[in-house]
């Protein structure tokens, strides 16, 4: 019990810094891929500190409540995951967090914000089946929904559910808001539809969204790691390789329409998830 609490508190304290470091390295590597120097590695932290120095301008006060709830539930999701909780509860908490983000975008009355919110809903729809199938896959491989049991499983789970791992890596692009699936909003400020979901958020409100994104990044890389949990160093290498692939894909693809995102994500979930689970059920 004590150990679980330590892991949860460790996540809450360390995740933003690890997330910022990952984000900074991401921007540096992206810049190098484009033949630029790139910002300092700690740039995501500077951005967030700056946002909290800005004026508290908000369209409606409800927005702050929704965005704060989003942050809290993302933190809860990650803390639950790293303390070895139930993976189904983790997925539901994450969905609830995103529901708050969407409510926040809808509460800020603006057409751009609404388009972003609708796209976020579509992203949620695209990702959810794969996440549920992944939880099912973990259960069929280890006989338990608890992250703790999955992490302590003697052999790497990825050997039993390799196709589900592929599917998770595919939807990771959507969840990390990377191109080609950065429909709702990108981490870097591109100009299409101003900034999607976060158009109406300014200053500290946007800062909370950014912090939540740092937590989310660490949480999702934690899921990737869970596939290799019995060999921690191999898991770390896998996380690095997967994240590098994400950056590469981010830089070499353009944004696709939501139809392509939804169809391809569901297709991957259906093919990878169903084949893998079907084989497991037959064995």
């Amino acid at each position: 019990m004590i150990e679980e609490i330590i892991f949860a508190i460790g996540f809450i304290i360390l995740a933003p810094f690890i997330g910022a470091l990952i984000g900074g390295i991401d921007r540096k590597v992206t810049a190098r891929m484009q033949g630029r120097v790139g910002p300092p590695v700690l740039q995501p932290l500077y951005d967030i500190f700056k946002l909290f120095e800005k004026e508290k301008a908000v369209v409606r006060n409800e927005v702050n409540f929704y965005i704060f709830s989003y942050l809290i539930f993302v933190v809860f999701t990650g803390a639950l995951f790293f303390s070895g909780g139930d993976i189904l509860l983790v997925i539901f908490a994450l969905t609830l967090a995103h529901a708050f983000l969407i409510l926040g975008a809808y509460a800020a009355v603006s057409p751009y914000s609404h388009v972003g919110a609708e796209r976020e809903l579509l992203q949620l729809m695209a990702v959810e089946p794969m996440l549920i199938l992944a939880a099912t896959g973990f259960y069929m491989a280890t006989g338990s929904f608890a992250v703790k049991d999955i992490a302590l499983w003697p052999e790497p789970v990825v050997l039993t559910i390799p196709l589900i791992f592929v599917g998770i890596v595919y939807v990771l692009t959507i969840k990390l808001r990377k191109s080609p699936f950065d429909l709702a909003t990108t981490h870097h400020a591109h100009q299409e539809l101003v900034k999607g979901l976060t158009t109406e958020f300014a200053g500290p409100t946007l800062g909370m969204v950014e912090i939540a994104h740092l937590y989310e990044t660490v949480f999702f890389l934690g899921i990737v790691w869970l596939f290799f949990a019995s060999m921690p160093w191999v898991g770390l290498a896998a996380v690095i390789v997967v994240y590098f692939l994400e950056i590469l894909v981010d830089n070499t693809t353009t944004r696709v329409r939501w139809q392509v995102m939804l169809r391809s994500a569901w297709l991957v979930a259906l093919v990878a998830g169903a084949i893998n689970l079907g084989v497991l059920a037959l064995l």
Partner: protein, 148 residues
């Protein structure tokens, strides 16, 4: 310690310029000049921006847009007028539809002359604007302290 000078996000608006200065602003963000190494990001969203780069003289049609964009930016914010048209109206000064420089509509903090303004001078202008931005932030923090 202030972080606002380490992460100034810019928004650029083409008042009614010939696009010459505007593409020089974008040239600053390309790999050759790489403004992102100073933490500068081109946002395109006034609510996220700290620095307002504006090119071209202001005419009757763009006046409302410039004013609206400026008012949507949360404090502290700075305005940089890029190019001779933005600073004074340039050769279009006498035109019947031109208001003149940007300062006829919104307060301008830094003037960057040139036709077209070179990327080097735009970067210089933005760096000078950062000093003003920091001063504004300090003043804002002071007022905030007085309120409480």
């Amino acid at each position: 310690m202030s972080y606002i000078t380490k992460s100034p996000w810019i928004i650029h608006y083409d008042g009614s310029s010939c696009n010459g200065c505007d593409i020089e602003v974008l040239a600053c963000l390309t790999p050759l000049y790489d403004l992102e190494r100073f933490g500068i990001v081109n946002t395109g969203n006034p609510k996220h921006a700290d620095v307002f780069l504006i090119t071209g003289g202001i005419n009757e049609q763009s006046r409302a847009v410039v004013k609206n964009t400026y008012e949507q930016m949360p404090d502290p914010k700075v305005v940089v007028a890029v190019g001779i048209c933005a600073t004074s109206g340039g050769v279009f000064r006498e035109c019947y539809n031109i208001m003149g420089g940007v300062d006829t509509v919104i307060p301008v903090d830094v003037y960057v002359p040139g036709c077209a303004a070179r990327p080097e001078s735009i970067i210089d202008g933005v760096v000078r604007a950062l000093g003003i931005l920091e001063a504004k932030r300090a003043k804002m923090a002071e007022q905030e302290g007085k309120k409480q």
